[in-house]
């Protein structure tokens, strides 16, 4: 680590427009980034980590501005600099990459042109067209993309998420920046892609001796790439230090809680839960192809989402279906819920031919299998009071309204909300609270199977931990079998008895959680395990921790 101080944020405060729930997005924040090091800025939503980075390049939204403090880059306070100076820095000495690569690239321009524009902005003297084109191809190759000349002429929508993010990185590297600001660049990517992008960033950082301020919410990522860590909460810095110091001996209670909340650190009760017996739900030969018509003359586009899948679930068992985007795991979940009809296959549920049921019979059987969706904001009707949302289920099966409401209130209390919640509307609750309401709604019908479709993926890490704990409790209380769909193997490790790995619509491996982690058989499973962020510090079941982590 060099002694050169690149960026020094000193007592920075960024004010929010009046009338919001707090006055400052960022309050009295101080941090530094030196040459040739990666500093990770960690926090949950609302911590102000993203605003801090945006403030460095003055890319703040219209009504948000720096209220006090200094941002020193190479000695000068750029918080006080004029717009021309800032423009000179943006894309030049300081570059920034963002979270969502699809929306961060101009959809109507070729990616090669977009990179060339970045070069044009800063390179003096202006390079000739041929030199520019050559440099663009150089950059595309440098970020690990094959066939640069074809890629340069592509439009963003023709590329995958990982490819787009590499293009964004190429744009950011165009003018050899000294400082790179990375705002959650891998959060929206699949875990295997995330690993590759993280490796790319580390490689580029090492090659060029850049300072990198990397924003993330995932302590696993911190463990993998950071030299130093800054932890933020509600706009303030709560702790900072070297990655070893913070991870091994965190001083602040919040930091400790965040580290403890990383899924997979709490060993799943490996003691046998006594799962025996005949399968409750048994699916065989499931196939689903999505066909999108493209007008009269073009052949329809066919995507096979689920290919010949067989799945079984025993009473009280939790099976995790793990896969990346496009694996078909969500489609599988929806087929089980009869929200999508498969093209072929059978589902035997509780002795009945589940797929053959129609109309009233289907509705009668529906109560036995319930679902909790991923997005707690979309899963509740904004115009329906929460208590009613829960009570409607039992009422649809003939329960009298008063009884259903009383049960609803009891359930709300059980999931950790007050009685009075029943009379309020969804927008009055936080994401975690809404997810609890959704769980209550699902359980109101006393199902035997609960399908959790990425039920914790959209939640902050600390909230995630609470919801997983709640689900673990409830499944014991109510003798629930669970089908837990997730992209995060760490979450699966924590809650599942068995793991099923899917890829491109097929099951590539399945087995007991311990054995999948200890001795994976398929190459893809191995790749997934390898890509788990922070694996070396956080032990999954059966993985040896290379350093002991103190958990409060």
């Amino acid at each position: 680590m060099s002694e050169d101080l690149l960026l020094s944020v000193e007592n920075l405060s960024v004010a929010l427009p009046p009338g919001g729930d707090r006055g400052f997005a960022v309050e009295e924040v101080s941090l530094t980034v030196r040459r040739n090091e990666i500093v990770c800025l960690v926090g949950e939503s609302g911590s102000g980590k993203s605003i801090t980075a945006h403030a460095v390049l003055r890319l703040l939204p219209p009504n948000v501005a720096v209220a006090s403090g200094a941002i020193r880059f190479g000695g000068t306070d750029i918080a006080a600099a004029d717009e021309d100076t800032m423009r000179g820095l943006r894309g030049g000495a300081i570059s920034m990459i963002f979270q969502e690569p699809l929306s961060a690239l101009n959809p109507l321009a070729r990616v090669g042109d977009q990179i060339a524009k970045a070069i044009l902005m800063h390179a003096r003297p202006r390079p000739a067209r041929a030199a520019r084109a050559a440099r663009v191809l150089e950059l595309i190759a440098a970020v690990g993309l094959p066939d640069p000349s074809t890629l340069a002429r592509s439009y963003p929508f023709q590329l995958s998420g990982g490819q787009r993010q590499r293009i964004m990185i190429a744009m950011a590297m165009a003018n050899n920046p000294a400082l790179l600001l990375a705002d959650e660049p891998t959060t929206a990517l699949d875990v295997t892609t995330q690993k590759k992008i993280l490796m790319l960033i580390r490689q580029l950082q090492a090659e060029r001796g850049m300072g990198v301020l990397f924003i993330t919410h995932d302590f696993g990522v911190v463990a993998d790439i950071a030299d130093r860590v800054v932890v933020m909460r509600n706009g303030r810095v709560v702790e900072q230090g070297t990655v070893d110091a913070v991870l091994r001996a965190p001083k602040d209670a919040y930091t400790k809680a965040l580290i403890a909340a990383v899924p997979g650190t709490r060993p799943a009760s490996t003691a046998s839960r006594g799962i025996t017996g005949e399968p409750l739900l048994s699916a065989l030969g499931l196939n689903k192809t999505f066909v999108t018509r493209q007008g009269l003359f073009r052949p329809a586009r066919r995507v096979q989402a689920v290919r010949d899948v067989a799945l079984s679930l025993r009473p009280r068992e939790t099976v995790a279906v793990v896969g990346e985007s496009g694996s078909g795991k969500s489609t599988l979940g929806r087929i089980i819920m009869r929200l999508i009809e498969p093209d072929a296959g059978t589902v035997d549920f509780d002795g009945e031919n589940f797929l053959g049921l129609r109309g009233r019979q289907l509705r009668a059987a529906r109560r036995k299998v319930q679902i909790v969706f991923q997005d707690p904001f979309a899963a509740l009707d904004p115009r329906q009071k929460v208590g009613e949302a829960i009570a409607r289920g039992p009422m649809a099966y003939g329960a009298p309204a008063s009884e259903a409401m009383a049960d609803a209130k009891r359930l709300l209390a059980r999931v950790g909300l007050k009685d009075s919640a029943a009379g309020r509307y969804p927008h009055e609750f936080s994401g975690g609270q809404r997810q609890r309401i959704c769980i209550a709604r699902a359980l109101a019908l006393k199902p035997v199977v609960l399908v959790a479709d990425e039920a914790v993926s959209a939640l902050d890490v600390s909230v995630q931990a609470h919801i997983l704990a709640l689900l673990a409790e409830l499944r014991e209380e109510m003798n629930l079998a669970m089908l837990f769909i997730t992209h995060d193997l760490r979450v699966a490790a924590e809650i599942a008895d068995r793991i099923v790995v899917m890829r491109y619509g097929e099951i590539v491996e399945q087995g007991e959680t311990q054995s999948v982690f200890r001795s994976p058989r398929h190459a893809y499973t191995r790749a997934l395990l390898d890509a788990i962020p922070g694996r070396r510090l956080f032990a999954g079941p059966g993985g040896a921790a290379s350093a002991s982590v103190m958990i409060a």
Binding site: M337, Q370, F373, A379, D381
Partner: protein
């Protein structure tokens, strides 16, 4: 209700509402203010405004322009509202069926809607009125028949969007029958944009009605603003007040409806609208 209170605080919406209320009041009070038939001659022809006790002057046959405007308000509002109700009914039903069932049903409905949007609506209205005969009912039928496509498109888009939303799927999983899901979850969430578009459709309906009357295709027994402007064409140089005032009446009414529509849009969809306004 919160939305009602929010609307009352919306400045442009309230301005529109006040103007609209004035027009409605004028229409309601027309028989009281102008007891004579607006078609009756009550004075000398071509009297300028503010002469002979005539607020807005008289036309070429000595009819009171102000009376014409007051009675014209009744016609415009009546036709506007009733034909819009018809258009909303047709449009929402078609759009809902298309959006809820999807696939083949949707294809067919959408081709029909597209067809109606390709045809120049005004010309179709002319054809219908000419064929069926110029009467109040036929004018309403004609206007209703050409105003429904945007409502169908909107309803379909809303139904498609909502059908895929998790809270609707959750209701299905809860065991609620399809009809209950539509009535309880889809419709209440789809209704806001339909209300906004519906209110703007009233404006379009009034426009079409006035254009039809201008061309002489309105109900010949009803004094309408469009008719007054049409009648004034040949004598525009001598009697500017015959064309200006009815036009201003139409302008104010349409402006008011548009402002109310904007106000409704802002209060019913606050998040999007706020962003659009303050940038």
């Amino acid at each position: 209700m919160d939305t009602l209170k929010a609307f009352l605080r919306h400045p442009t919406g309230m301005i529109g509402f006040v103007i609209l209320a004035a027009v409605v009041a004028l229409a309601a009070a027309a028989p009281a203010l102008f007891p004579d038939d607006p078609w009756d001659m009550i004075g000398a022809p071509f009297r300028p405004p503010l002469s002979d006790g005539l607020w807005l002057g008289s036309d070429m046959l000595g009819r009171d322009v102000a009376a014409g405007i007051a009675y014209g308000a009744r016609v415009s509002l009546l036709i506007g509202v009733v034909s819009t109700l018809a258009a909303v009914f047709i449009g929402v039903v078609i759009g809902a069926i298309a959006g809820y069932f999807g696939d083949k049903v949707d294809e067919v409905m959408m081709r029909v809607t597209e067809l109606f949007q390709t045809i120049p609506g005004f010309i179709l209205a002319i054809l219908l009125v000419t064929t069926l005969g110029p009467s109040l009912t036929n004018v309403i039928i004609a206007i209703g028949s050409v105003s429904w496509p945007p409502l169908a498109r909107l309803t379909r888009a809303e139904f498609l969007r909502l059908r895929g939303r998790e809270f609707v799927q959750a209701a299905v999983c809860q065991g609620q029958p399809p009809f209950a899901v539509v009535l309880r979850h889809i419709l209440p969430n789809a209704i806001s944009p339909i209300i906004v578009t519906g209110s703007l459709t009233i404006a379009t309906a009034i426009l079409i009605e006035s254009a039809l009357s201008f061309m002489g295709l309105g109900d010949p027994n009803l004094m309408s603003w469009g008719f007054m402007i049409g009648a004034s064409r040949t004598v525009m140089r001598q009697a500017w007040w015959m064309s200006v005032f009815p036009g201003i009446a139409i302008l104010l009414t349409l402006l008011a409806i548009n402002l109310v529509g904007e106000g409704l849009n802002d209060t019913l969809n606050p998040r999007i609208a706020r962003r659009a306004r303050t940038a």
